[in-house]
Amino acid sequence: MLRKALIVTADRDGAIENAAIGWHIRLPQAGRREWEEFIAWLEADPRHRAAYEAIAEIDSDVDAAKLTDYAPHPIQAANENDSTSNRRWFIAGALGAGAAAALFLASLPAIFANHQYQVSTAPGQQRQVRLPDGTSIALNGGTLLVLDERNPRRATLVRGEAMFAVRHDSNHPFSVVVGDSLIEDTGTVFNVIADGPEQVVAVKEGGVIYEAGGEAIKLGPGQMLRSSAGSPGLLIARQPPNAIGSWRAGRLDYDQATFGRIARDLSRNLGVPVSVDPSIAERRFTGTIELDRNPARMTALLESLLGVDIRQHGTSWRMLPLSR
């Protein structure tokens, strides 16, 4: 991405850049004639097209920055009351020999708008929040949620998993922002997962409208949607309503789920990074896993239920095929 920016840098023309920015900002409201003026502008000079692409890339970069999260380890905040610094960084622990520590952009919203605040959980920790309107939100481990004092009907799920029980108000739908998507509902119980490039929304009661990339999809009880960056389609599947948000009752219910998916869910629920050997990542499991905080009992249960060996590497677990 930066290589392209280099080409633009060499040839930067302030007037062209400003024009490109102006177009980018006006397009969402543009009428037919303005669109056609935009096309004529693009065609008038190859630098116009390049300048506009550079702006479109900026949008991409901002979206990417929102999603960056490399921290499976407990994170520590920088000095919360440092008024001289405009930024707060959460610095993640190093992942291992050779891997660089990464910056996690956690509290950007909290800095930039004083009426916003965050609620977060450490890996493996659960927490519940009640909003002034009566909506309640249950957060699973490793979750970061940003709320807004001035707008109690909106939440942003930056990462993790949360179960929303929304108080009905058809005049003011409750919405959850996850990356580029908006989930809107009017009185519902639904579960949302934001896990790096993947988003999962499942409705337990009521209904939501999931909006992303210009599409809007209605989901009803027992329906689940999975959106994965890198695959163009959306997966819509059925999930029994009882299974949705079952993590709150300390269990994970599966119907033909892959071991890869189970490993990711376990990581989120146990607060321990769980990986799976590629040779068994696509194996499937149907059944219920009762979560246990005791590592010895949990690994024993997983080994017998899934037919795997679990090895510990430092604080992380790895699922391996049984050695015969």
Binding site: M1, T9, I21, G22, A65, D69, A102, L105, G230, P273
Partner: protein, 193 residues
């Protein structure tokens, strides 16, 4: 085509008719943006399928609507390609330490990008930052922002223009600095640019 109907409303059947006639214009838009002709065909096909699924509804300015949808599809297609490399970087990060490490370039790009975005946003006045945040991160419309903040739409536009300018400048500066570092790096160093 009856001009009054074209200007005022389009129901789904009518929208399909408009789409068919409007294909050359939509092709022109995507070509002007730099899309390859094979991609253009692909995207128009996707657009057609989406339009077919729309419920019948009156619509003002169906041509603008089609331009907007085509433009968004182009943007999303570009993002899918981008996300793939980001997703790979993320996936590799989650593996235990002794597994293969992500290519240093993937990590560097992700971190540089994070850094310049936060640097740039940090340079903005608070109000401008807030407006940009609402618009890009919270997906609030420009009109809604104007109403909620009690300012004019053109004031919102000016704030957004400023934000994008600063982002562009910060990014260009970082790219220039990186280029210098790579140029000046001693030979034999692994500094794949």
């Amino acid at each position: 085509m009856d001009r009054r109907r074209e200007a005022d409303t389009a129901i789904a059947g009518g929208l399909i008719r408009i789409f068919v006639e409007f294909r050359p214009a939509l092709t022109r838009l995507m070509t002007a943006r730099g899309a390859a002709s094979a991609d253009v065909e692909d995207l128009l096909q996707d657009l057609f399928l989406k339009i077919r699924q729309l419920p019948a509804e009156p619509m003002a300015d169906p041509h603008a609507y089609l331009y907007r949808m085509a433009h968004n599809l182009l943007r999303d297609r570009y993002r899918v390609v981008e996300r793939r490399s980001r997703r790979e970087a993320l996936w590799l990060e989650q593996q235990p330490p002794e597994a293969s490490l992500p290519s240093s370039e993937a990590i560097l790009i992700a971190r540089e990008r994070l850094k310049y975005v936060t640097d740039a946003l940090g340079r903005l006045p608070e109000r401008t930052r807030e407006i940009f945040w609402r618009y890009r991160v919270e997906s609030e419309g420009q009109k809604a922002i104007a109403i909620n903040l009690g300012i004019s739409l053109s004031a919102v536009e000016k704030h957004l223009q400023r934000a994008y300018r600063v982002l562009l400048e910060t990014k260009a500066q970082l790219a220039a600095d990186s280029a210098e570092v790579r140029r000046d790096a001693p030979k034999g160093t692994d500094c794949d640019g």
